[in-house]
Symmetry: C2
Amino acid sequence: MATLQDVADAAGVSRSVASRVLTGDTRARVSEATRTRVRDAAEALQYVPSHRARALRFRRSGAVGLIVPDVTNAVFADMLGGVQDRAREAGMSVLLGQVDPPPSGHGRLRELVAAGRVDGVLLQRREDLDDAALAQVLGDDVPVVLINSRLPGRAGSVVLDDVAGARLATRHLVELGHERIGHLAGVPHHDTAVRRHQGYLETMAEAGLTVAPEWVVRAGWEAAAGAAAVPLILSAPRRPTALVVSSVNAAVGAVSALGRAGVRVPEDMSVVTVLDTWVAQAWNPALTTVRLPLRELGRTACGVLIEHLGGTPLRDLVVADPAPRLVLRESTRAL
Amino acid sequence: MATLQDVADAAGVSRSVASRVLTGDTRARVSEATRTRVRDAAEALQYVPSHRARALRFRRSGAVGLIVPDVTNAVFADMLGGVQDRAREAGMSVLLGQVDPPPSGHGRLRELVAAGRVDGVLLQRREDLDDAALAQVLGDDVPVVLINSRLPGRAGSVVLDDVAGARLATRHLVELGHERIGHLAGVPHHDTAVRRHQGYLETMAEAGLTVAPEWVVRAGWEAAAGAAAVPLILSAPRRPTALVVSSVNAAVGAVSALGRAGVRVPEDMSVVTVLDTWVAQAWNPALTTVRLPLRELGRTACGVLIEHLGGTPLRDLVVADPAPRLVLRESTRAL
DNA sequence: GAGGTCCGGGCAATCGATTGCGCCGGTAGA
DNA sequence: TCTACCGGCGCAATCGATTGCCCGGACCTC
């Protein structure tokens, strides 16, 4: 816990010189002998510059806040890895946060930033937070990058190429010869859910296939939601032979529910899902999925924020590289 | 981004007075009129005290570091919730960290704390980090609380009641009439794995059941490890009729592998596992598990650290409340 | 010999909040 | 009238690191 002053004393110089030597200030004129003395002293004392002091001086905390609705979500976990990586590269830390919906969460983001705990925020929006509420949670002068949703003008954003992902999943089923293809979508107003549904609809239209209203269930992202959607699908007059499920967790729930209902996957029903986590691979049958670059999503979002803190304007990006890729496993088969 | 000085100016007083009013210093003699002026000014300017400045002054960052080997693990996720809760109560933040094994990770923890980014660290040890390596990663003067492992004298610790958990799981199988009960354990030197194995062995002994060496496979915590262990179990001369699996992720892998091998669960093989996450519930068959209080684990660990920062000595605790509880689902049945 | 230049470093302000101590004016008690 | 005391508030140091500016001496040049 040595301070710069301690190092300076040990080296017999002033703080100024010690600082200039240790920060590698080349413009400073300091003799090589002195430089060595300072560096040796720093090493001997195990000097580590105080982040607190630097934060105060530079008006920068060197941390980004990561605010997510649910940390138990595997999707979040994969993304987190990317955020961490990017933050590390920039020498920054990641602070985990929670923000309640308004009114209790009102202004919290602003506080977080105003208090200087973090320099900016990565925000994954809760499903139930609409645009107005979101705008309220955001302050005016808080650097925010939204993950998987958008709010043009108020924040930057980075989203997956959800349309392409859903198209790929749907096309896979079409190519297998399925014609009655259902869709377990996310909640209605969620950005991501909307885009994935769009990809599904587009592909169906292009293939000249019709979509019966009862084939589309707007459930949610979780396993329970996927399971709950199954009876609705099965009771449809013309039962689909295949399903596109918008999220891997919901797919897991759906496949289980299908099994319980005596519907075999893939013999009686093909299931393809979007997002690829370890759960999809571990399942029996292993789930055919479309892999979207979650890690890259986190990395890019963090990058947009960090660059913005460096002066670049906030941006709205789609993570299209690496492109969505179909991971063929056991849950789909030709009709 | 108003500072205390701004508030003071607006209220027509000095910084000192503004500070005393806003911090609610009762010993300070300030007239009620002045107090009101200051408070109004603070509100009008949306004053939020700078965390950076306070951190410097108090030599406290107000954050704890949470260092885990793998954030994609559902076990981690549940625990994280508890850590967050406890930190919030204390007005602290949670900083996510990563620490590589020595030599590259050597001294990193010390740096983290010495630099003042965090006041202390919660550390969930990597499976492959032995005691010596762990001691090296730790500095000398870093407040550390280990989660699910121990290193007496060097750090505090909080662990689950793994023995009781494994006993409960094993006893459940015994009561169902099983006599040949196998165990998919974690890696050999891992604290948690050792304790769970102990619970298994104790219960088997108490029930007067023998344990054939080939019934015990020291695999790992992940789905792949569980799947890989299955062939070994199935090829045993006297095949077990039931399995205790030490971790829910491994159990998922094992059950899938059993299914592929044509072994039905629970008809041909009962499987009970320790730890209860959403995956266990979503599976088909839904897994019978022993629920251990993961959230409470995180909360307690964070509490030990925070209390230590407040002056209390570090402690070594076992989270025994709520007690391990058997969650009966579909993966076990009477012999 | 006077003035200029370069070298090697130190002084002190700054970032924002907290806090021990001291100052000033008024009132009460002696 | 003088002293003591108290209410109300400001001064300035402190927490560490950074950085613009200045200073003293050596050396050089005209």
